[in-house]
Symmetry: C3
Subunit: 253 residues, 3 copies
């Protein structure tokens, strides 16, 4: 239904490098210095290689941005110059990823999510809709942030000192609508319940709930009452595999 | 000031069906399979008929989307293929409505709001700015969600089990910045105060306040102190009529 | 890298007035009645002079909008007809500023922020990402709203009575993820901690924390523990100057 290939209205710089079989949607913009890997889709009204602050002061350097193969970047998304993202990126609509952020493979950024600059993001990290990730945040592999999760990075804003970001450990789950106060460390496999306000570091595997969030023991001890199919929901990687490396191929014996 | 009609830069599929007197703004995209009713406005940079996941795997079926007459769809809004919405839709800017969602007449979706797939939405439902409505949500007629309200649908994310959405009863009011925890039922005429976190079902007509939200009696017993013109604010349909079927025509005797 | 000047794809009304050396990005729209001051940048996919409700009822008046010189308006931003903003505006992406809002010089509106109509905004006001400012809000000079801050204006929604907005005093800081309940006054130099829910007026200089927010003394008495460089973080204007009139010029002896 939507034609594949490079739409005639797209503005693609001659100094952008597109892999084989890349589709660029109507009214999309790909600036100089951008590389998009093979078999990727760039949706309508997207901008790849959005210039940073220097551009407005006259700097015309084409800072490289690279996006790995197999990306699906949905409409109205903006990726800045100076970003490096591995293969299989997925974005929703109206997402932003700012300068000097580096992300691994299979990164997902949901609709309306905003990843600020200089973040370090592992593999298979998933941000659902309208997640906010501030500058210098470190997200380890397999982290999930659910809708509306908000991370902060400045204990006493405004200040010039917020150069150490928060760190979220591998497999950690940050529930919908929760707020992580500045400069905290959330441990591997930790679970922050929805609508929590996290004011202290969270230890590995710990479940925290509420505002301010209180420890409720190890998440692996949580027994799920509402879904009879799923006795122990955490660690989630023991029952959830869709899209992850440990997913079993469908069909066949 | 802005010309009406189909802007020369709009990309409108030959297999889209536009009613009489439809305006399509600059740089808007209307894909194959989309029907837009008469007297509608589609703003600049909108996309109607955005393809779902199958498209990226090679599926080129034009899944029908229909939007009833008299719609006003503001700029940068995205409506997916497979959506069915009644007459008099209103959207703000940067809104999204995803696949297989069905909505009745006079649906309003505010700026930055995100309605996920497979929702069932009654008549005269109003979502203000940046509301999040997850998959499978059921919103009955005349429901209001105020700015930043966030509904969730998975008790222990991530999981494969979240196929039963939350339900919000007719005339219910969900205040700004509140979070509805997964799979709850909010009763008809209930009122959730701003910034509440709802952790349990809310009975018909009940007012709940706080995080976690506590019952504060029947909303109809609430006496408004700050506005001398309005003694009893709830049920709101007894004093508020703008845009609703019970609105009295202006003028006349 | 991105060419300066008026991009050939931009739709600029003959009745728009552009100062010297203005750049208009690809696919941007500047409607009749809009004035943009010299040395400004209007990003791709922006709309300046978005028509209000009257347009859909047949009104074709070009209501003036003026944006002062030196503006940087980033992509996908929408500024309505009937807005008046001073010099040095900065916006992020996907921001909206609605009709009859008036703002002073050096106004910043972050990515995804939504400023509703009829607001009165002083000089050097800074809204970070996805801030929501409702109709009739008054923000005095040097106010900061951090990511996800949400202001509300109707004590018992829906109603027809919400014509008095909240007021935030000069230099006040509203932390990330906080919610200001309707019609409150936040005093000059006050500090609302992140993730707070403010239910009462906040006196000048006061620090409030929590949900509901409780007073914790004067913000100037707060001693910062986490950053050894900064003993007393508030009032912030005593140590933070970047971009403000009291910033010292760089270099010299």
């Amino acid at each position: 239904v939507r034609p594949r290939g490079i739409h005639p209205t797209a503005v693609v710089s001659e100094r952008a490098v597109l892999g084989e079989n890349v589709s660029i949607g109507a009214y999309a913009i790909v600036e100089a210095g951008v590389t998009v890997g093979a078999n990727s889709f760039v949706g309508p009204h997207c901008i790849l290689g959005e210039p940073g602050a220097g551009y407005y002061q006259g700097d015309d350097t084409a800072i490289p941005t690279s996006i790995g193969e197999g990306a699906i970047i949905r409409s109205h998304t903006v990726v800045y110059a100076g970003v490096r993202i591995g293969p299989n990126l997925r974005t929703g609509h109206h997402a932003t990823v700012r300068e000097e952020t580096v992300a691994g493979r299979n990164f997902q950024v949901g609709t309306g999510s905003d990843v600020q600059g200089r973040c370090s993001i592992g593999d298979y990290v998933r941000l659902h809709s309208r997640v906010f990730v501030p500058e210098h945040t470190v997200l380890h592999d397999y982290v999930w942030l659910f809708p509306g999760a908000l991370i902060t990075n400045d204990p006493h804003p405004p200040s010039d000192g917020a150069t150490v970001g928060p760190t979220i450990g591998a497999y950690a789950v940050i529930g919908a609508g929760s707020v992580i106060l500045p400069s905290l460390h959330i441990g591997k496999d930790a679970v922050v319940a929805a609508a929590s306000v996290v004011t202290r570091d969270v230890a590995e595997g710990q479940l925290v709930v509420g505002a301010p969030a209180r420890a409720r023991g190890n998440a692996s001890e949580l027994v799920k009452s509402r879904d009879p199919k799923l006795e122990r929901p955490y660690p989630w990687r023991e029952h959830f595999s869709r899209g992850f490396p440990w997913e079993k191929p469908k069909g066949g014996i």
